[in-house]
Symmetry: D2
Subunit: 302 residues, 4 copies
C-alpha cells in the first residue's frame, strides 16, 4: 500500500516536501499555535508546529548541539543561563551537561506544548525538566526578559521563525536585542537560531545586521539540518567573548574539562566546520540584510 | 498558511487525490485495518480505512440511502434484516426507518472500529446502536452467515472492497453468495456495495456476473459519491423480487407508507436515476467480468 | 520508479488531484490561457487549460455526446448550428453527425489552441475541421454573436468555466443569454456547459436561474465525467422545444433516422439518466442560485 | 491560481519534494534515460534525469566548482583531463579555467542529452563545447577508459548515481577504479561525485571504502546543494597528491596563479569547509560501507 497520511512542508507556493506520518501521536491547536507530534518517514518521531518541522529524532542533535555548545564554551564559566523557547527540552538538556551551570531559566509561551513535550518527547528532554537547576516559566519571552538586569551569563533564543503577527515576530528586533544585552552579565554572550541562510537569506542577514547594531562581536554560523530541508543558521553575539576564536583543539579540551556525557554532533572539527561559511553565504551576508525594528520587523513567508 | 496535513487517496500509482485533514480525531491500527477519523476539506468529518474514505458527512446519504432503500422497498415487508459490515451505524440507521423491520443483526469484524464509531460518528448512527431491534455481533461476516438457514428477508453487504488477502476478499465469491442465498427466506433479497464501475469495471462486472450464477434476478445500479471519487456501484439480487420494477410513483407511495423520517437522497425520481445506467456502463457489463470463486477471488488494486 | 511528472488539479486550496503526465506533447502560454497537451495516467491523452482538464480520450464522449445530441434531437430539424468554444473539434464532430445540419459556425477565441488541436487532437476532431459545412472563426464569442439575428437553430456554448476576469466571465450572464436568444430562429434551442453541480452548486443553479429569466423552457441535466472529478452539469433552454419531453424510445428512433455513425455514450436510456436528477441536486436547484449579470457575473473559484 | 505542473523528487516511498515546473522546455526519452529541461520554482532552469534534479541554475556552481577545483589545484600542473559524464558542459567549463590544461576529453553516453544541453543549457557550458582544447566523445565511459594507459593528470567522474541496472552501475566498482588508476599519469588524481552522505550514507561510505582499496590517499569531502535536497558528497583519490593538505591561503594563491575568471563558490575558506566534515559524517564513514565490485555493485534506491 502506498503511504496515505502526509505532513506537507511548503518552502513556497510552488515547492513542497511531503513526508508520510506513520503514527500520529497528538494533534492540537493551542492559543498560540497548531502542533502535531508524529512519526515521520525519514525523520522518525517529530514535532511539527504550524506546518514546520521543529525537530526530529533523526537529527535534533545537529541543531541543539550547534545551538548550545559554541556559546557556552566561549564563556569562561557560564553559571546562569536563560533559554527562551525550546519547549522540547533538548536545549536545556545540552545546557545542563556543562559543569559550570548552576541555574537555568526556561521561558516558553505555550504551556500545552511544554506539557505534551514532557509526556511524548522523552527522547528529547531525557528528564532535563526534573533537574533541580531548571526553572520553567510559562510566559512571553520578551515580557520575561524586560525585567532582567545583568542576570545571565548566556542567553539562548530557541524560538520559532519570525512571521508576520506570529508569536516570535518581536524576538528578532533591535529593541529586543537591547533587552537581551541588558539582561547579560559581564562576559555575557547570546545566541539565536536564525532561519535558513539559503531559503530566507535576507532574514538571516538581517538578524546578523540587527545584532551588529547592539553587540561588537557578532558571529553568524551555519549547520545542516535535514529535517529543516537544508543548511540552518545561527548568530552568536557578545561584547567580550568570541566563539569564532576557539580552535578545534581548544574546543576538544574544553569539552573534556567542562562537559559531561558523549556528544553526537559537536566536537573541535565540527566547530571549525560550523564557523567556516562557504563563499556564497559570506557574499550574501555582505550584500543584503537590514536592521529589524519593532515597527519594521522581519518575517519569513508562510 | 497553506494546508499541511493531508490524507492521500491513491487511484493508482500515478493518480492521487489529497485532502487536507483539518482535525484528526483518532488514528488507530487494529488487528484488521488502520483507520483515521478526521475532518477533511471538502468532505467534512470522515472515516478513512486503509487509505480509502469510507464515508463522509458530506454525502454518506448518497451511499447509505442508495444501499438500503431499494431492496427493502422491493420486499413485500422485510421483518428480519442482516447487515454485514457497516461499522459506522448509518446502514442500520436507514434500515430502522422501515416500519416492517422487527430485528436487525449487524456483524462487524472490528470491535475497536465499532466502538470508535459509536463514540465519534454520532452523526452517522444517530443512536441506532441503542435501538432495541438491533443486535450487534463482533465476528467475521462469513463465519456468522455460514450457520444461518432461511433467517433473513434482506441481507445487506456493506463491507470494504475486496483486496488481495484483505478482510473482505472472500465476501464477493460465488461460494459466499450461496451462503447468503441459503440464509435468505422466501422473497428474500440481498444487496452488496460493488466498487466503482468506472475505476474498477472488471470488479464491478465480476460481482454482477458472480451473483448471476446464484440468483435469477440480478440488478446492478449506480449512484454517485463525491467522497469515493466518482460513480459508485451496487448489485441487488434475488430469486423473487425485483427493485428495478418499482416505478417512481410506487417508490414514493411506499416511502410514505413504510418509511419514517425525511430522506435526503432517495425518492421515486432518484430510484429511476439509480437504475438507469448510461450506455458505456451497460456495454461494459456485457463485455467484461468473470465469476469470482474462493480459489480465484477478485480484488481491487491497492 | 515512482511517477515524477504531475498535473495537479485543485478542487480547493485543501483538495487536489494529481495525475502523472507520462508524455508532454506541448506546453504553451497564449494571449488568453496556458495549456498543456499530455498523456495523463488514468485519462490518456488530455488537454489541460489553466490547470483544469478540458477533455481526455478516456471519456470526452461522456461530455461531448451529452452536450450535443439532446438539443439537436429536440429540434425538429436543425440546419444551422453555432458552436462557441469547443476548440478540440469534438463538439462539431458530434454536430456533423446530424443529417439535417447544413452549416456550422464555430467561434473560438484562441487561434493557437485551435491550431494545436488540429495537429495533436486528431482523435477528437476526426477531420471535422475539414468538413465543408464547417466555418471556423477566430473571435470573441460574445462579439461574434452580437451581430446575429435569427440565424441559428441551435447554439452550443462549449466554453471554459466562468472565472473572475477570465475569458468566459461574460458568457454566462443574462445580457449574453439575451443575445443568444436574438440569434436563434423559431424553434431554436441553446445549451451550455454549466460547471459541476456538486463542487460549484451555486454557479450551476445560477446559470439555470439566469436562463430562466430569458427562456420559458429551461432544463438542467447532469452527466458524469471522470476527467472532471465527478458529476457535470448542462442547461438546455428554449421557448419552444423541450428535450426533457423526449422518451427513451423516441430518442432511439430519432438517432436511427437523423444521426450517422455509432454513438458510444448517448442513447434513449442514457437520455433518461441525463434528465432524471437525484433529489439532492433537485433540492439544491430550488434553494440556491441568483441571476448573473454583466455587472455581477458568477465565477468558480480558481 | 495555485501551481499545477509539478516535478516530484522521491527521497523514498514516503518522502517526496514537489516543485512547480513553470516552463517545460523539452521532455524526451532517450535510449539511456528520460529527461526534462524545465524552469523549476526555487531552482530556476534545471535538468532533471529520471526524476532526479541533475543541476539547476540556482546552485550548479556549489556542485561543479566543488567537483573540479580541489583536485585540479592539488595537482602540480594538470595538462590532460578526462571528464566522464558531465553532459551539461559545466564541468568542462570549470576545468578550462585552469591555465595548465591543454586537453580535455569528455565522454558521455547520451548523444541526445549532450545535444539538447548545447542548445538549451547555454548558461551551464557557456561555450565550453567550442573550446579547441575539448574533445567530446559519445561512448560508454567504462569502455572508453579501458583502453587508456597513463594518459591523464586528472579524471573527473561526473555521472548519475549508481542504480540497479542503471547506466552508471559499473562506474563505482573496484574493477572500474583500477581502470581509472591505470589511465592516470604520475601525480594523477581522480574525483567522483559520491551521492548524499545523509540520504544514502552506506553508498557514500562504500565509494570511499572501495577507492581506499585502490588508492593510498582517499579524501571524502562534502558540499551542500539545495537542488539535491541537502549535503552532497565527493571523494578524491590519488597515490601522490592530497587536496586535504591545501591550506586556505595556499588555495587562494593557487587560484590567483592558475585559474582564470571569477569563481562564485570556491575559495580558500570554502575549501576548508568542504574538507572538514561534521562528526556524524566522520563517524558514519568509520562505521559503515563495503567494497563494491562488478558482481556486487552498490546502488541507491529509486
Amino acid at each position: 500500500m502506498l503511504p496515505w497520511k502526509f505532513i506537507a512542508e511548503w518552502i513556497s507556493r510552488g515547492e513542497v516536501c511531503m513526508r508520510e506520518a506513520k503514527r500520529i501521536l497528538v494533534h492540537s491547536r493551542t492559543r498560540y499555535q497548531e502542533f502535531i507530534i508524529a512519526e515521520l518517514e525519514g525523520l522518525g518521531k517529530s514535532l511539527i508546529i504550524d506546518g514546520k518541522v521543529q525537530s526530529s529524532l533523526l537529527d535534533e542533535h545537529w541543531y541543539h548541539e550547534a545551538l548550545v555548545h559554541p556559546v557556552l564554551l566561549a564563556h569562561p564559566c557560564p553559571r546562569r543561563v536563560l533559554v527562551v523557547g525550546g519547549g522540547e527540552g533538548a536545549t536545556i538538556r545540552e545546557v545542563l551537561r556543562h559543569n559550570c551551570v548552576e541555574h537555568v531559566d526556561m521561558v516558553d509561551i505555550d504551556e500545552e506544548l511544554v506539557e505534551q513535550s514532557k509526556r511524548l518527547l522523552v527522547e528529547w528532554h531525557q528528564g532535563a525538566f526534573d533537574d533541580p537547576r531548571v526553572n520553567v516559566v510559562i510566559d512571553d519571552g520578551r515580557r520575561f526578559i524586560e525585567g532582567k538586569r545583568a542576570e545571565y551569563d548566556v542567553i539562548i533564543l530557541d524560538v520559532v521563525d519570525p512571521t508576520e503577527g506570529g508569536p516570535a515576530a518581536l524576538l528578532y528586533t533591535v529593541e529586543f536585542y537591547r533587552l537581551v544585552k541588558r539582561a547579560l552579565r559581564e562576559n555575557g554572550i547570546m545566541v539565536t537560531q536564525a532561519t535558513s541562510p539559503v531559503l530566507t537569506p535576507e532574514v538571516y542577514a538581517s538578524i546578523t545586521k540587527t545584532l551588529s547594531a547592539v553587540f561588537s562581536i557578532v558571529r553568524p554560523y551555519v549547520t545542516y539540518v535535514r529535517s529543516y530541508n537544508g543548511l540552518w543558521g545561527f548568530v552568536a553575539a557578545s561584547d567580550r567573548v568570541d566563539p569564532a576564536r576557539l580552535t578545534p583543539d581548544r574546543v576538544d579540551n574544553l569539552l573534556r574539562e567542562r562537559v559531561r556525557g558523549e556528544l553526537r554532533f559537536y566536537d573541535g572539527s565540527t566547530h571549525g566546520w560550523l564557523f567556516s561559511l562557504p563563499k556564497p553565504l559570506r557574499d550574501m551576508l555582505q550584500r543584503t540584510g537590514r536592521i529589524a525594528t519593532d515597527s519594521e520587523p522581519i518575517a519569513v513567508p508562510v
